[in-house]
Symmetry: C2
DNA sequence: GTGTGTGAACGACTTCACAGCC
DNA sequence: GGCTGTGAAGTCGTTCACACAC
């Protein structure tokens, strides 16, 4: 989050930014900003603030954004297709190297300069080319099976859009995005708001 | 999350579930389950566990899922369109009552039995029909402006897919889903993993 | 015996507040 | 005077452990 706003400031020619300024942008507190950043080092100058450009460079390094991570998307439905063409990914160095589906109607359908591939080829493809991250845009019932397979094939990071909890060994990182659950959270907020 | 798994258990004819069983399903701990549920009441029976069906009913009430919330989607790009047709929403009682865009090429394009509407009509439409939740699938630069407008028009809950922090008055609930940021979190995990 | 509900202990994260440097 | 970096204090959430109910 800090990186996003620092890049914005950097783009607008800002050379320096105080914890106060960053806090306002990010919707947090100055003390929080200072503690967070100090975890990784002493970047700021007392009386001045943080050097914007320098800090963006350091944060990119810390986040590992120096390299182009290779991503496969599993599930060529509405969400999967939207993700496959989402610009934000490539812009930030995430290369979509393949889209997979199990539905014969969808396999072979053109996608970019390539085509949607058969999910049965996924294991082989992961073994052949490097795949760093698997994005799952599939039904809940299929999620755990696919997770097991990509983990078995060597993938160490998963972004899961299936509305279910998935279980992985400790060395694998998972982030789950559950849109229906987010909406239910809003439903709760609306129901229990202090009118 | 508990509701999701309780429904599954209910569907499979399970009458009762222990905090231990729920914890395993949800990837948490038994103590956590008991504390969470006890916040809303004493649902369980000692020595038995929680009554599955009864608890799903109560949780739906608590979450406010009894009524059909009306949702508008702003932004008819890839993500917005995917969301507009996402079944999970309607299944859980969220009715998409309109899709809006500012791009003349997209306005009027068919969507369901209706069409994508001009974003300038949004304020008027919200005033005319009830709109409970606005889902934002638009570029970061447009997000705050649209937020201000829908809040002004009376919307009290926002699901934000724009990759930016948005600021709202205290009575408005916002959930932000930032997919690029999730991927960057995975990049960090991959970079700093204990190989 | 089994498994909840819950105060008490614990741990993690946030905020405070100020010394130190620009 | 302004603003960071950071121990100390405070707060919040999680885990423990056990009395109690079934």
């Amino acid at each position: 989050m800090y990186l996003r706003y620092l890049e914005e400031l950097d783009g607008s020619g800002q050379h320096t930014a105080s914890s106060d300024a960053l806090a306002t942008l990010c919707g947090t507190t100055p003390a929080q900003v200072r503690k967070d950043l100090s975890f990784f080092g002493s970047f700021g100058k007392r009386g001045l603030g943080y050097p914007v450009h320098e800090l963006t460079v350091r944060l990119r390094e810390i986040l590992g954004l120096g390299q182009a991570w290779q991503v496969v998307i599993v599930g060529a439905g509405k969400i999967g297709s939207a993700l496959a063409e989402y610009r934000g990914f490539r812009q930030r160095g995430f290369q979509v190297v393949g889209v997979y589906d199990k539905n014969p109607d969808k396999i072979g359908r053109p996608w970019g300069d390539a085509a949607v591939r058969d999910i049965t080829e996924l294991d082989h493809d992961i073994a052949t080319q490097r795949v760093d991250i698997a994005v799952l845009a599939i039904p809940a019932d299929d999620a755990q099976e696919i997770v097991d397979r990509v983990v078995q094939a060597g993938v160490r990071a998963i972004l899961n859009f299936a509305p279910t909890q998935v279980h992985v060994p400790a060395h694998v990182a998972v982030k789950t995005v559950n849109m229906a659950m987010e909406l239910e959270g809003l439903s709760f907020a609306l129901t229990n708001r202090a009118d």
